[in-house]
């Protein structure tokens, strides 16, 4: 397995087109182990295409995609997943479950990857626990609301325990309690050294979950930097087709010290200012 200095993901001047549609143009970036990153941008910006490249489903027309120390061009998607280098959840993954029970579905990845049974069982239990799905483990996925199917798909990727997790719109259709559950689970994974890349339109979720933002626009990487800084720049957000999320908007409108972008930090600042106490 790759040493800890090898990026979990590296793209070198990557381009891709669907016929005449240029979906990605000269994209370069690198993600370090344990980093939590959001991939942002308008509908059609190229986000899902980038994900297909990372998982080896499509090959770059130009440039190179490195997942850990592997060049995806020489690997199949199955080999990439089995090697533990990358695990992913596609945009409509909740439609792709086929196990008889949630546990069956979550077990699929480790089983196919050839993880020995006792270890596979431990991983499945850890994944179910991380997303608080133990209660639903014996239910048929299609007896559950779509939001829970989505969590089951997420647990399936967790159970592979890959070095890099790539998730396309993991929170669409989830209520706030479930979104917070996903945030907690991803923070845990990241502490364990897993690199997390989430595609999302939900900047409230992103602010709670990640530290760094990548923004694509018309297939080009327009921004790569700390998310809080981007959330402090309404004009920049607007020009990239993004909108100021409520916490950052509240901080700016009330002039909260430090312009917090996470909800707990904003609540703490609000409480202190309201009580007339200085904010550290």
């Amino acid at each position: 397995m790759a040493g800890s200095l090898t990026p979990a993901l590296r793209l070198e001047t990557v381009s891709f087109s669907y016929g005449v549609v240029r979906a990605l143009v000269d994209v370069s970036l690198a993600l370090a182990p344990g980093e939590r990153v959001a991939l942002l941008g308008r509908n059609g910006a190229g986000k899902s295409t980038l994900m297909r490249l990372i998982t080896g489903l499509i090959q770059p027309a130009g440039g190179t995609v490195w997942v850990g120390d592997w060049d995806t061009r020489h690997r199949t998607p199955e080999a990439l997943a089995r090697s533990g280098r990358v695990g992913c959840v596609f945009q409509h993954a909740e439609q792709q479950l086929f196990g008889r029970t949630v546990r069956d579905d979550v077990s699929f990845g480790p089983r196919v990857a050839g993880v020995p049974a006792p270890e596979a069982t431990r991983r499945v239990e850890r994944a179910l626990r991380a997303l608080e799905l133990e209660r639903h483990a014996e239910e048929h996925p299609y007896d559950l609301p779509p939001a829970f199917r989505k969590l089951a798909a997420l647990a399936g990727a967790f159970a592979l325990e890959p070095a890099l997790l790539v998730l396309d719109e993991p929170t669409s259709g989830l209520d706030r309690a479930l979104r917070m559950r996903v945030t907690r689970a991803l923070l845990e994974r990241s502490v364990a050294g897993v690199t997390v890349l989430v595609i999302t339109h939900d900047l409230t979720f992103a602010a709670e979950t990640v530290e760094r933002a990548l923004v694509l626009d018309s297939g080009r990487l327009m921004l790569d930097g700390p998310l809080p800084a981007l959330l402090g720049d309404a004009a920049r957000l607007e020009s990239l087709g993004l909108a100021l999320p409520p916490v950052a908007a509240l901080s700016a409108a009330l002039g909260l010290p430090g312009r917090p972008t996470r909800q707990v930090d904003a609540a703490r600042a609000l409480a202190r200012v309201a009580a007339g106490r200085p904010v550290p």
């Binding site: 993004l242 909108a243 509240l250 409480a271």
Partner: protein, 266 residues
């Protein structure tokens, strides 16, 4: 005039013992936008299926109580639903986005000119005129969601039923959608929309209905999304929730603008 009335509706999905909706009464009148909120599994999607006359008529199950829908006589002006899963609503019979959007109107007995006018207008409104000649199967998720909404809009619905319509939309798309919803209501349509985006509700809704475990837990003005009970159920707006988390007194502000009004100058 369009009007949807549910009178003490209880609904069971096929082969289930516990009802998904319990004794629900509500109405949606012409010109009105009503938001439905609830935690996952509370019954908002089921309520929309009942309102659309898909449950129990198409998907089966059993209904007690009464669902009444009044609409003008025209072929359009009926009730139409946009499902939360756009890719399941694609006709699969159109080679281009234009044809996909024309699919619904073509079944309303309109003239070719009339169909074309409605399709072009719907594509322009959703900001997807540039996709007209693309193949529906080769679109990104958010692009497809816009196409499916355009297809419904092109039929001039009298009652529009939307289930998580912004789930895959970018912020510009979401803004366009909420504006469209207001515009439709101004034109005399009724709109019932289930959304987990509580933050958007103050900008588009006239009323809010909160479902919990299949029952109406509360209903009222949009300010309901800043209510203590809703916040406790994780359904309040982010601003209200942040206020509450800070231990500041209720009533909580629903939006940033409300918060600014509430916040003394310092």
């Amino acid at each position: 005039m369009v009007r949807l009335t549910l009178d003490r509706v209880t609904f069971w999905y096929p082969a289930t013992k516990a009802p998904a909706l319990r004794d629900v009464s509500l109405d949606v009148a012409a010109g009105e936008v009503v938001a439905l909120v609830g935690t996952v599994g509370a019954g908002t999607s089921t309520l929309l299926l009942v309102a659309a006359d898909l449950a129990p008529r198409v998907i089966g199950g059993r209904l007690e109580g009464r669902v009444h829908f009044e609409a003008p006589e025209e072929a359009s002006g009926g009730r139409r639903i946009v499902l939360p899963t756009p890719w399941t609503q694609v006709s699969g019979m159109a080679f281009t986005v234009w044809d996909e959007v024309a699919f619904g109107p073509a079944n309303l007995g309109w003239s070719r000119e009339e169909i074309a006018r409605h399709v072009d207008r719907a594509l322009a409104k959703l900001g997807i005129a540039h996709l007209a000649s693309r193949e529906p199967a080769a679109l990104s998720g958010g692009e497809l969601q816009r196409v499916m909404i355009a297809g419904i809009l092109a039929m001039d619905p009298g009652l529009l039923l939307l289930d998580e319509p912004t789930a895959e939309l970018d912020p510009a798309g979401a803004r366009i959608l909420w504006q469209l919803v207001r515009e439709l209501a101004r034109g005399g349509a009724g709109v019932l929309v289930a959304t987990s985006d509580s933050d958007a509700i103050p900008e588009f809704a006239d009323r809010v209905i909160w479902l919990e475990l299949g029952r109406v837990a509360a209903a009222g003005a949009p300010a309901l999304v800043a209510d203590e009970a809703l916040c406790a159920a994780e359904l309040g707006t982010t601003v209200a929730d942040t206020w509450r988390m800070a231990g500041l007194a209720a009533p909580y502000p629903a939006t940033v603008a409300d918060a600014v009004r509430r916040w003394p100058a310092r």
